[in-house]
């Protein structure tokens, strides 16, 4: 036996020790991680857990309103639990936590697109008595439609969103241009301004092109302005719409390549730093762009998204609603909190202090609201026109399957036709047979 073999044996004997060490340290890390979950202090009052995504703007406003609720309802304490702002991440949280049949929270803020799914799954309870039939017309009809499942209301609209066009008024004025009403105008204006400004950092048009829910919203905004849709309807027109989306980056070069990773916040920062002439975004960005110290304060305007001549576009309805977890043991108190947070007074406060758009229509002609947020007046018709994404319990299946396809279009890896073929096939699969037919059976 040579020396090398002998020492290999020697090493062989040590190996288990090394391995054991590695495994042991991994375990320790895992166990320490598990032990870190916090415990909550006992309390005699009823504690309502209110789960919602992080709101932008002044972080003291909502807690202040919740304290007001507690004063009006002695014995109730509301504890907020925050989720990340991204709609997709929040959905993951809810799907994982609600599926087990128990809910570690009582009231939850949900995206417009989830109400059907959550109601179908039995995760959220009916709220018919919170907003009786006769009072529903006080809210935007598209939001109420999205929240109604099997004829019953499962969530109350909290604030409402619709895709808007933000523009740099100062730059348009400098070149004698009007806010664009067609996509061609937009491309033209963006090109003229970017060429003339000679500013390497300036882009024409930023929008949400990352692979996530926001991409579906932008895509639908554009497709609907072409008189088309993603999952149904005219194929040729849809193809043109998708081609335009890609062309903004590849052909017209008005949108930067980084668009394929852009979401609401990154585009808001980009535009907010003065690096873009146009931006597609939700109304929440307006007060943030106009606040003290913002580089574009006083230089911007907001308009409905452009469309294609001959087609009346309709922006995508977004927004969040409040619901009560079906498994909550404090459903009555939870319902009270929903009633409170969606009441006219509180919606007014949220509109004025946080800049979110009220889901109640009357507030758009409310003097104190318009005083603080005059832009809401012009926003109203657009919000009224907005159309929801497909109202179906299968929406997440549709959206999740379509996101990678459209993202591949944005980076030039797929043609509009290939994307549409795939997306239509997915629609057949999720809406045609299986899930959809069972969706009816369960009610």
């Amino acid at each position: 036996m040579d020396v090398a073999t002998k020492s290999r044996r020697h090493l062989g004997r040590r190996l288990p020790v090394i391995l054991a060490g590695v495994v042991l340290s991994l375990w320790t890390v895992a166990i320490v991680g598990c032990l870190q979950g916090g415990e909550e202090p006992a309390s005699s009052a009823t504690v309502l857990i209110f789960k919602h995504g992080k709101l932008s703007g002044d972080a003291t406003v909502l807690p202040g309103l919740l304290r007001e609720f507690e004063q009006r309802h002695p014995g109730l304490i509301v504890r907020e639990e925050l989720l990340p702002a991204s709609s997709d991440r929040q959905h993951q949280y809810y799907a994982m936590n609600l599926d087990g049949g128990s809910a570690p929270f009582d009231v939850l803020a949900i995206d417009t697109i989830w109400v059907q799914e959550f109601a179908q799954a039995g995760w959220i309870g009916r709220l018919d008595d919170i907003v009786p039939m006769g009072e529903r017309a006080a809210f935007f009809p598209s939001a109420v439609a999205a929240a109604t499942f099997g004829g019953q209301l499962y969530a109350v609209p909290w604030y409402i969103d619709a895709g808007m066009l933000y523009y740099r008024r100062d730059l348009l004025d400098r070149y004698g241009l009007m806010p664009p009403s067609t996509w061609d105008d937009l491309v033209h204006a963006a090109t003229v301004i970017v060429d003339a400004e000679q500013d390497r950092r300036l882009s024409g048009f930023v929008w949400q092109g990352k692979q996530y829910e926001g991409l579906i919203c932008t895509t639908l905004d554009v497709l609907r302005s072409y008189g088309a849709d993603l999952w149904t309807g005219d194929l040729d027109q849809a193809e043109r719409g998708l081609q335009f989306l890609r062309d903004t980056i590849a052909m017209h070069k008005v949108s930067p390549p980084s668009t394929s990773m852009a979401d609401e916040e990154s585009t808001r920062h980009f535009f907010g730093d003065g690096q873009a002439v146009f931006m597609r975004n939700w109304p929440y960005a307006w007060p943030l762009l106009q606040r003290q110290g913002s580089p574009v304060r006083g230089k911007i305007g907001m308009a409905p998204l452009p469309s294609v001549p001959g087609h009346a576009g309709a922006p995508v309805l977004g927004g969040w609603l409040l619901a009560v977890a079906e498994q909550s043991s404090r459903r009555e108190a939870a319902g009270e909190l929903v009633r409170f947070l969606t009441s006219p007074d509180i919606q007014r406060a949220i509109a004025i202090q946080l800049g979110y758009n009220p889901a109640r229509r009357a507030l758009y002609s409310d003097a104190s609201v318009l005083d603080a947020r005059p832009e809401l007046m012009a926003l109203y018709p657009t919000l009224l026109q907005s159309q929801p994404r497909p109202v179906t319990p299968s929406y997440i299946l549709l959206s999740q399957a379509a996101q990678p396809e459209i993202s591949a279009l944005v980076v030039g890896r797929k043609t509009p036709r290939a994307v549409l073929d795939a997306v239509r096939r997915q629609a057949d699969r999720y809406m045609g047979g299986g899930a959809a037919s069972v969706a009816g059976a369960r009610q």
């Binding site: 020492s7 799907a95 799954a121 980076v411």
Partner: protein, 298 residues
Amino acid sequence: MSRLSERAWGYLLAAPAFVLLGFVALAPIGAALWLSLYRRMPVFGLDEFIGAANYVQLWSDERFWAACRVTLYFTTLSVTAELVVGFGLALLLDRLTSRSGRSSPWEQAMVLLPWAVPTVVSAQIWKWLYQPDYGLLNYLLLRVGLIDAPIDWLADPDWAIHAAVVMDVWKTTPFATLLLLAGLKALPQDLYAAATVDGAGPWERFRRITLPLLMPIVVIVLVFRTMDAVRVFDAVFVLTGGGPGNTTETLSIYAYKTLFQTLQFGYGSALATAMFILVAGLSALYVVLLRRHFQESA
């Protein structure tokens, strides 16, 4: 009792350990396999046995094959780089510390640091480094003139996966370094002395002594790192979320989204099972290679 053979006794005594192992390791795998034979979608109250239908669907699922390609590409690149860089670092550290006789805690800490940082945190840090306008990486590359316009590493479908590989290499090379360093420290010095006397140069010594003797460790590094890389999730998920255009969607990200975003438990389990088969196949390959290596050298 005494009639039981020694062998039977051995099995009997080891039985509790086997049962425990069975529960811990095999039960979840078995459960996933079982679930993969169902169409289970709790949102729709669906729970039906459908046999192999999920696997049939898997076979014609473009997204699945794309995810396999991304996963294997990621694994090959990152494991190779980790091994090479890890070996280099281990040799360097071995050199540094053999003179003083022992390594200083500082050196060890430096090497281990990337490994000790939770992946989610380091992925977030790398996301900032990759940021096109303010990120350090573009700043440095522009500074030394390697590029003349900022590159958006994560938004570009060609760069994104490589950006993830670089991050993974940074993060897990320490693991390779540490194991290889331990191996180097255990090598008998008299062999090197004898080889030097016989006139072998540094390269000869490395090739004829270090490399063959360290082979078992190399294989262990490969097995561990391959298994981890095939299952990679958080590093890529935080950096890109699978985008753009699914160019960075690994099998585990696809399985994760199927299981926890859209709650398709049956199909998601089929994806997870496919991933398990891939890992098992690769490990089996390594075991065969290792065995052959030992047989050849014995």
